[in-house]
Symmetry: C2
Subunit: 504 residues, 2 copies
């Protein structure tokens, strides 16, 4: 149980949607609020054992990448999901703030999605620099051309935040509108932590009631069921669009299993290639897959270039988009969640184009970190001079590609030399320095005692049918905790684990 | 999804207590009541997928023997427990009969356990032939010498039956009084089957309500809690005596986890060697392990010679036996469950020594298969002539050592040549030919379509404090299903999976 380092990729789970916890920490050690490292080692070992057992009995599991079939066949090659032994301290005010923001962001996404011109124009330069965004925009253009309307709109978003240590400000990292992972497993981790505090809270001086409830999967399933009801075809199915290999499948299975159990609605799983092979579009817009009508399409693939190895996948995406099935997300929702749009929305007077309520606008703006296009020569100059204060983010989804530190300077200088088109593939963002806490991280049955930083994601479920907003709820959260280190590269990037929050 | 054969050991789970499903089938194919093999293959595949997912999310798991740490560290190297896709047909009358027998058998064990002389005398010849039984008897003698009384007696038994195809009689295979496995996982399988029938029952023509409820783990945990209460030391713990490597650990963890959750009672896990190193006996009889008082000792090890690799383990067993902790089982309960005692109890007028109620006695006798000592020359002669009608069972616990077919003749002739002492290590039992059914067996994510036979075990929980019987309940069941074959040896021995019953 010693502090240790290990070669790893910085991914919460090395499979499924690759979501890197933002690398925003700095190396100095600060006095933590909760001194987890002071806990008696025998007690830690007891809790570790109990937590590992709990995760095995209660489906807090992923596919083990060392077992070949574990990404394809359920029930084999299981290992507990990586998780933090105890919840991370988080200030109650900022938690409430994040919760309050959720329906406003969902509303914003909906409004932005309806402004096809804004999406196309904002992304026009990115289109030239990024081939993937370009294909998405082409799809979007086609839908604009045929004047495709999405009366029933379903969004299952996750807005990610970090808490800036110096200013104590809750700052948004990004807004995910496609394939937000961990609604299933994050709920499990919260339950695990509450369970541990029920048993050990007294000796630890921690109150299980200070861990906010987390039923993300329950809300997601409710959203599917309500969307399915709106679609109004009792024989139609829900379709999960998945990758061919998915070691994070149990996170998804929690949704489909509970959908079946609570609502008796069947979800099928299909890859984009399978959809291309099996799907057909009826003249009334009905999407049939394997002869069965699809009411709701839930994307857990399709967000990254790797998900489109051939034209087959693009054909499938187009067919789905053309259909009357409820797409979670539609191409418009998908584009509304890109980093470039995030940066555009942060510009003065842009939010006002989409929202009326001034208080709401003020709330959103308060959580915006500094966001800049690389068109701004002053900012680029500043970033070259003080790269440690910036993060360079590529348009591409899926994390792991952010640029930090001296690399920011190098990249900016290279882009300046190459000309302007390439720079449109990036945005610049203020670097956030979150508080460092003591933690225990568990992976592969091994406990690592270390210092860590966290990123908070709040799930939002949004469903409307024309003018009728059926759901707009904050629904659970994801806390990802990652080893902190003074060194950004290599081993020190650490790995992220699932966590929950403890309100302080 | 073809019928297939595979090299395997015939064990339900190749770890923990080795419990072989009795190899009592014959090769002829009979018309099954429920034609599972006629189910549409697409539907079978759908159910298989759903079942594998369900088992991963709901802790129907074991350690994968291909992963080294999976028997030591929880949370790693998990794989779904082997199970049958659908419940096995079983006649309701015989089911009720088995349920009714349970409290009578528990009462019988208790009465027999109090007759030290009967145990010693009945096993006196076995003592000479079997070194392990000899050590157990020595322990028992020591307790008799010091006049050790067990006021609080806890039994968690399982009586195993097969249904004889021709006579439709429910016949007892054996009565287990130590380390009865699968109270945790068998409950899970029943829940899985009910879940599947909730979804697919209509199309299959099966009613989920025809699967009897199965909460073995719940009763076991209640029994621990009640025993703990009787012991009356609020700081005392429950101790699970376990093997150093245990791939069936989740079956046990279901018990300890629920004990903690429902009753806030902590269970620790210790091997016999650890107990020898850490335990001490206070003058008042209190057993301390690692400085903590033990209220209840639950043996999930200690039933087989392999569990005693050195004198250390025997010292630990003696120390526990001498203590005031409630032993599940005590040495007397342990001996009362041996095959030799089973055979003695089947002799005329023996039951009458222990039970008063004539109806109860008649019920027990009705389920006794033919059981004989090898002292009986007529039976030995008959078995040599028609070995196919007999099974030769060694005294040793743990199955896998039974002798069938031509081997019975060979073994008997060999024993006759060698003299009489060796023969006391065996009993002869009538061979039972159970009904063969169509089934789907799942192991390691692979579905095998085959013909199978089943063995039904009924769990009983018995707790008394002096004259006060606190619990005497039938509490759930275990159905193990095993590939049937005309050939007894080698591959054809098949493997056993967890199953549940469907009342017909």
């Amino acid at each position: 149980m010693a502090q240790s380092s290990f070669p790893c990729s910085g991914l919460a789970v090395n499979c499924g949607k690759v979501e890197e916890v933002e690398n925003q920490e700095e190396g100095t050690t600060r006095k933590p609020v909760i001194e987890y490292h002071g806990i008696d080692q025998v007690l830690v070992e007891e809790m570790v054992y109990e937590a590992l057992v709990w995760s095995s009995l209660h489906g807090l599991v992923v596919g083990d990448k060392s077992v070949q079939r574990s990404g394809k066949v359920p029930g084999v090659g299981l290992v507990h999901a990586p998780f933090a032994l105890l919840p991370m301290p988080f200030p109650e005010n900022q938690w409430r703030q994040a919760v309050e923001l959720t329906p406003i962001f969902s509303e914003l996404v909906d409004r932005v999605s309806l402004d096809g011109k804004f999406l196309q124009e904002s992304l026009s330069r990115t289109k030239k620099a990024d081939a993937f965004t370009s294909r998405l925009l082409d799809l979007h253009s086609k839908m604009l051309e045929i004047n495709k309307k999405e009366d029933i709109r379903l969004g299952l978003h996750r807005s990610d935040y970090m808490l800036d240590e110096q200013t104590k400000l809750l700052l948004q990292i990004e807004l995910n509108t496609i394939s937000c992972s961990f609604p299933g497993l994050s709920s499990r981790v919260t339950e695990l932590h509450r369970n541990l505090l029920n048993h050990y809270g007294e000796v630890l001086g921690l109150d299980p009631k200070r861990i906010p409830g987390n039923n993300a999967y329950s809300y997601f399933v409710e959203a599917f069921a309500k969307a399915w009801t709106e679609y109004n075809n009792p024989r139609a199915l829900v379709m999960f669009v998945v990758q061919a290999e998915e070691r994070n499948m149990y996170d998804q299975h929690w949704l489909s299993a509970v959908l079946k159990e609570r609502y008796n609605i069947t979800a099928i799983r299909k890859t984009m290639a399978e959809i291309d092979a099996e799907a057909e579009l009826l003249s009334d817009g009905t999407l049939l897959v394997g002869g069965k009508a699809i009411a709701v399409i839930y994307f857990r693939a399709g967000y990254a270039p790797n998900d489109y190895p051939s034209e087959s996948e693009w054909r499938a995406r187009l067919l789905m988009e053309q259909s009357s099935a409820i797409k979670c997300p539609s191409i418009s929702y998908h584009l509304a969640g890109t980093k470039k749009i995030q940066q555009e929305l942060a510009k003065p007077d842009v939010l006002e184009r989409f929202l009326d309520n001034k208080e709401d606008i003020a709330k959103l703006r308060k959580c915006f970190a500094g966001l800049w296009s690389l068109d701004d020569p002053n900012i680029v100059k500043e970033a070259i001079e003080r790269p440690e204060l910036f993060v360079m983010k590529p348009q591409r989804e899926g994390g792991g590609n952010n640029i930090y530190g001296a690399d920011v300077r190098e990249a900016l200088l290279r882009l300046q030399k190459e000309g302007t088109d390439g720079s449109a593939a990036y945005i610049l963002m203020q670097r956030i320095f979150p508080t460092v806490f003591q933690t225990f991280l568990l992976r592969n049955g091994i406990c690592h005692k270390d210092y860590a930083v966290s990123e908070l994601g709040i799930y939002g479920a949004y469903l409307r049918n024309k003018d009728n907003v059926i759901m707009n709820d904050q629904c659970g959260y994801l806390l990802r905790t990652k080893i902190s280190s003074s060194d950004e590269g290599g081993v020190a990037a650490g790995f992220a684990v699932l966590d929950s929050i403890y309100l302080t």
